[in-house]
């Protein structure tokens, strides 16, 4: 066997060996990925049994809107808790015997005639319905869409 042919023969051997090892490694990582994906799906499925997904809109007086869609909250949480989770705890309020009155969301306070009001979306009527209770008394439902509106107009909707 000539030296030139030797080089090709040895290079081919090394290449095929590397191919075998990398193929096996690829299969190993693919299997790891499939297993991880299954674990994620299972965890998500378990999570769905004990949690709700809700959508929260925060609309400021200048018309800016911030949507917090598909926010996962434990079953039984109030609107106040859900808003606090969605905004990373940036919700302030004052408590009284009537419940909580939200004074600030995302650092934007209700000053002067502006107040933070909340609404829930009525899917059957396709309209926003003003919240009848304090935010801490309203227990969120699965898939519910709620909105916070900073306004001086008590008849306005988001």
């Amino acid at each position: 066997m000539s030296t030139g042919r030797n080089v090709w023969f040895i290079t081919s051997l090394v290449a095929v060996s590397a191919l075998v090892l990398t193929s096996a490694l690829s299969f190993h990582y693919y299997a790891q990925y499939v297993a991880a994906e299954k674990r994620y799906t299972d965890t998500l499925s378990s999570l769905n049994d004990v949690s709700y997904k809700v959508n929260i809109l925060v609309k400021y007086s200048n018309g800016t809107k911030s949507w917090y869609n598909q926010t996962i909250i434990p079953i039984g949480w109030s609107l106040f808790n859900a808003t606090s989770k969605a905004t990373g705890g940036k919700v302030e309020g004052s408590w009284s015997s009537f419940g909580v009155f939200v004074t600030s969301i995302n650092g934007v306070k209700g000053v002067g005639p502006d107040y933070w009001l909340w609404f829930t979306w009525d899917a059957s009527k396709k309209e926003w319905v003003s919240g009848p209770t304090g935010a801490d008394s309203h227990i969120m439902k699965q898939g519910e869409t709620v909105a916070w509106l900073l306004t001086a107009d008590w008849t306005a909707t988001p």
Partner: protein, 207 residues
């Protein structure tokens, strides 16, 4: 020059054939080396020198002595094993281990037929390494298929566990590539020395 540079059983050699006693002693020593290194390397899963030793035995002495080393080593290591004992698995690994002896024998025959004098030491090591990798792949496929059949009643599940969740097959194949490339040439040189009859060594020394 051949891949196996000195063997008393080669047809074209003029060396005096080694005695049966010396041959038996060398094979027994190789089997002992397999067993000893297997226990020493127990904490390293699927990293064993045994495969390279069995291959070298097949390469130097032929398929039957190579298979004998494989069988002896597995009979001891497979029976007195802290990881457990299973007769069907033991029989499978004994039979599968002879793949290395067979590969050694094939390389020996190929080497005897072809002109391989142009290969350098490094190239020979790479050839041994590649043969080690492919035979290990064959060994792993056979043993995992049988294990899968025995444990899960499924060949495919057995093959799947070869590299999942722990890449034991890859560890086995990669380590054997390295061992076949490094241990086999060294062992061949040692065997070549050990296979020379004492009277010949004495004669050389006294000259």
């Amino acid at each position: 020059m051949k891949l196996v540079q000195q063997s008393s059983t080669e047809r074209d050699t003029n060396a005096k054939p080694i005695s049966t006693a010396r041959r038996t002693a060398l094979i027994a020593s190789l089997a002992a080396l397999c067993i000893g290194t297997n226990y020493a390397m127990l904490p390293l899963p699927n990293v064993k020198l045994m495969d390279a030793i069995v291959f070298t035995t097949g390469l130097f002495f032929g398929v039957v002595p190579g298979s004998a080393v494989a069988a002896i080593a597995w009979l001891v290591y497979g029976t007195l094993n802290p990881l457990g004992f299973s007769l069907p698995i033991l029989l499978t690994v004994i039979v599968s281990e002879t793949v290395y002896a067979g590969a050694g024998h094939l390389v020996r025959r190929t080497s005897a037929r072809s002109d391989m004098s142009s290969f350098t030491s490094l190239e020979r090591s790479i050839i041994f390494g590649a043969v080690g990798l492919f035979t290990t792949l064959a060994y792993d496929l056979i043993t995992n298929a049988v294990s899968g059949l025995l444990a899960y009643n499924s060949v495919w599940l057995g093959l799947l566990t070869m590299n999942v969740p722990i890449p034991l097959g890859i560890i086995h194949e990669a380590s054997n590539f390295v061992f076949f490339a490094t241990i086999t040439p060294v062992l061949l040189r040692l065997l070549a020395k050990g296979a020379v009859p004492i009277e010949m060594v004495t004669r050389v020394k006294t000259k």
